[in-house]
């Protein structure tokens, strides 16, 4: 539909712009190669009304629950689930912004869900691009494709995000509803709400904020090259960087459990992922693709990231092994060690490795290992600005079972040492801290309880490196059928 609309707009411009057209000269005309359509966006902001939503609707499952509470009608059964994403927003990360009820807030922090305009969200000199293209790659059978740029074998269609762009806020609030009975096509949202829970408890409202950007992400469409499976193939390399917040607590002065009504969310509460840097590669040109296919014969289908073929030409490219490394350990070591360095121009193994191996990094701390030093700073137990953080609502505390052992003793809790404890012994002295009298002190600045009362707890940094997706298979499954 969007393609038709764009065509329509262009045609309409042509039709009415008869009198005052500016001619392009020959130089300008020859500058257009048809290699891409660029879309630049300045002072950009996109906002859905806080009551408007995208919805994934459920249907009554086979084996549906027949009752609520602790009885047999609520055991081993399914409930219909409906998901709604409200008020989807793309906006700035600076001062100025608004809550879902339009009251003002400061979007320079994650307390505020919607910001102002974004200067050059899509920079004109590094824009979002749609183009047909013939990049080099390897086919499923191991043959090389598009080696001659002037005489390409295969053309694909691709959508490119800018390689660099300003940070922005992407946010929405949502509802998860369990056990609804409404016919969404004929009944308003207020009808047929989670009937098994008349208090409205079948509804959970939440808020999701992302403050960062997706620069470098690529979506491609091409025909898969596997013989017998040369079907419509998709490719998505996802780059995400920034801070993420998921929260559910509502602000006391504008709370609501009414379906379809936007609350204001508490400014502090939530699960935070700070300083995230993630790359997930789904597909490789041209030997691995996301494809669709049928399951059974009653309407279900699968989405599959096709397995890497059992062909050394292909899987050696996929693995990106260092020269002479047949088992991968040395490749993994050097790739991890050199994660901040660009690959050499002629180092195809390194370049191939980084196209096929993803990573997910939470927080900026990086462990020291033989041959390189630690980077970043270890988060304190209640750090707010880095890593994975659980935060209580404004003015509240909770008891976190976030014991972070400094030493684990196989004899159990009394002999192990926790970061939140003070000790009567020197934990750095070999042989110390083994007798009951050398255990943790019961009073003092430390806390020898098994929990830690706080308004916030940081789980610290986490890093997943060398994430190789050989195959991914997801099957649609109508509720209660499988």
């Amino acid at each position: 539909m969007s393609r038709i609309i764009i065509s329509g707009l262009l045609l309409f411009t042509l039709g009415t712009a008869q009198a005052h057209l500016q001619p392009l000269n020959e130089t300008e005309m020859s500058a257009a190669h048809g290699a891409g359509i660029a879309v630049a966006l300045d002072q950009f902001r996109y906002a859905m009304a806080p009551t408007s939503y995208f919805e994934q609707t459920g249907i009554t499952p086979a084996g549906a629950c027949t009752a609520a509470g602790n009885n047999s009608g609520n055991v081993g059964c399914w409930r219909r689930g409906d998901l709604r994403w409200y008020g989807v927003n793309i906006s700035g990360t600076g001062a100025g912004g608004s809550h879902w009820n339009e009251s003002s807030c400061d979007a320079s922090t994650a307390a505020c869900p919607r910001g102002g305009q974004i200067a050059w969200f899509s920079p004109f000199d590094n824009p979002y691009v749609m183009r047909s293209w013939s990049p080099q790659g390897m086919a499923w059978d191991g043959s090389l494709i598009n080696q001659d740029a002037s005489n390409p074998d295969k053309t694909i269609y691709e959508f490119l995000a800018p390689t660099r762009q300003p940070d922005y806020t992407f946010s929405f609030w949502g509802e998860i509803e369990a056990g609804a009975t409404r016919d969404t096509a004929t009944q308003a949202l207020q009808m047929g709400q989670g009937a098994n829970n008349p208090s409205g408890g079948g509804l959970l409202k939440s808020q999701t904020l992302i403050r960062g950007n997706a620069a470098g992400s690529i979506f491609r469409l091409f025909q898969h090259t596997e013989p017998g499976n040369e079907t419509f193939g998709m490719f998505y390399h996802s780059y995400l960087q920034g801070d993420f917040r998921f929260s559910v607590a509502q602000a006391a002065d504008n709370a609501t459990d009414q379906i379809g009504e936007a609350p204001t969310f508490d400014p502090d509460e939530g699960l935070f992922f700070r300083n995230v840097d993630a790359f997930l590669p789904f597909g490789q040109v041209y030997y691995q693709a996301l494809v669709l296919g049928p399951v059974g014969n009653n309407g279900d289908f699968y989405l599959e990231l096709t397995p890497v073929p059992d062909n050394p030409a292909v899987y050696n490219r996929f693995y990106g092994l260092d020269s002479g490394d047949v088992r991968g350990f040395e490749t993994a070591r050097t790739a991890t060690r050199d994660w901040q360095q660009a690959c050499g121009e002629s180092d195809s193994a390194c370049q191939n490795y980084r196209l096929s191996h993803g990573y997910v990094r939470y927080g900026d701390w990086y462990p020291a290992m033989a041959g390189w030093n630690a980077l970043g700073t270890r988060e304190t137990v209640n750090a707010s600005d880095d890593g994975i953080v659980f935060q209580a609502r404004n003015g509240s505390t909770f008891n976190a079972f976030a014991k972070r052992p400094v030493r684990i003793d196989k004899r159990g809790e009394n002999s192990s040492m926790q970061r939140t404890q003070n000790y009567r012994c020197d934990p750095n002295s070999p042989g110390a801290c083994f007798t009951p009298t050398e255990g943790p002190v019961s009073s003092g600045p430390g806390n020898n309880n098994l929990y830690y009362t706080t308004d916030r707890v940081s789980l610290g940094s986490a890093r997943i490196e060398g994430l190789l997706i050989n195959q991914f298979y997801m099957e649609s499954c109508r509720p209660g059928v499988c």
Binding site: M1, I5, L21, T51, I59, P152, V481
Partner: protein, 210 residues
């Protein structure tokens, strides 16, 4: 979708007046958009809904005409069907004209974005600064709480695969054999049944080719 095509055809005679004549290639090459004047576009597209936005014969289940099917290469005879598919699209007061891109680069400049596969610049100096672009923006509806630039109502009641009936020569998109549905999707608003989702766009879009 058919109604939209008709709408466009009706616009052209109005814009060109008395007679239509084919444009020669060299005349086509002179067209770059318009300076100083613009087009303001308001568009309403209905897909199987009436003037109130309610579906026409689409939500009675079974084989109704409100459907869209996709058939992929190497999956011949198998149709990914969007059933009970209807909706409405409104574009309100979109302004279209032309404008040059800035001549001062942003801090995000990436010349490689404008290179060919062989690494050659596709535009002068691999820098689009100063090039003419199609400029679009929504000038109105910018008060606090106003969301009325683009309104979209979409309903996809059921999604399932349908298979060609080769015995009776019935294509899959004309069948409703799958009893279930993988998922349903709607874009709407909580204020009323079948109300469109209301959206607001701020800023300026520059579209250009290279």
């Amino acid at each position: 979708m058919q109604r939209y095509g008709l709408l466009l055809l009706l616009m052209f005679p109005g814009a060109y007046g008395d007679s239509l004549a084919p444009l020669a290639d060299n005349e086509m090459a002179l067209i770059a958009g318009q300076a100083g004047e613009g087009v303001q576009l308001t568009l309403l597209l209905r897909n199987n809904v009436n003037a109130q936005g309610n579906p026409i014969g689409c939500n009675n289940g079974g084989l109704n005409p409100c459907r869209m099917g996709f058939e992929f290469s190497d999956r011949e005879g198998i149709w990914l069907m969007l059933k009970d598919y209807y909706g409405e699209l409104q574009i309100n007061d979109l302004r279209i004209d032309s404008a040059p891109l800035p001549t001062i680069n942003t801090p995000y400049l990436d010349p490689e974005r404008f290179e060919s596969v062989a690494g050659e610049c596709l535009i002068d100096n691999c820098n689009p600064g100063g090039m003419l672009a199609l400029r679009t923006y929504y000038p109105f509806n910018k008060a606090v709480g106003a969301y009325n630039d683009l309104n979209l109502f979409t309903n996809i009641g059921r999604v399932a695969l349908e298979y060609d009936d080769t015995v009776n020569a019935i294509p899959g998109y004309m069948r409703d054999a799958a009893s279930g549905s993988v998922l349903g999707f709607r874009a709407t608003d909580s204020r009323a049944l079948n109300a469109p989702a209301n959206m607001r766009f701020e800023g300026v879009s520059y579209v250009f080719g290279f």
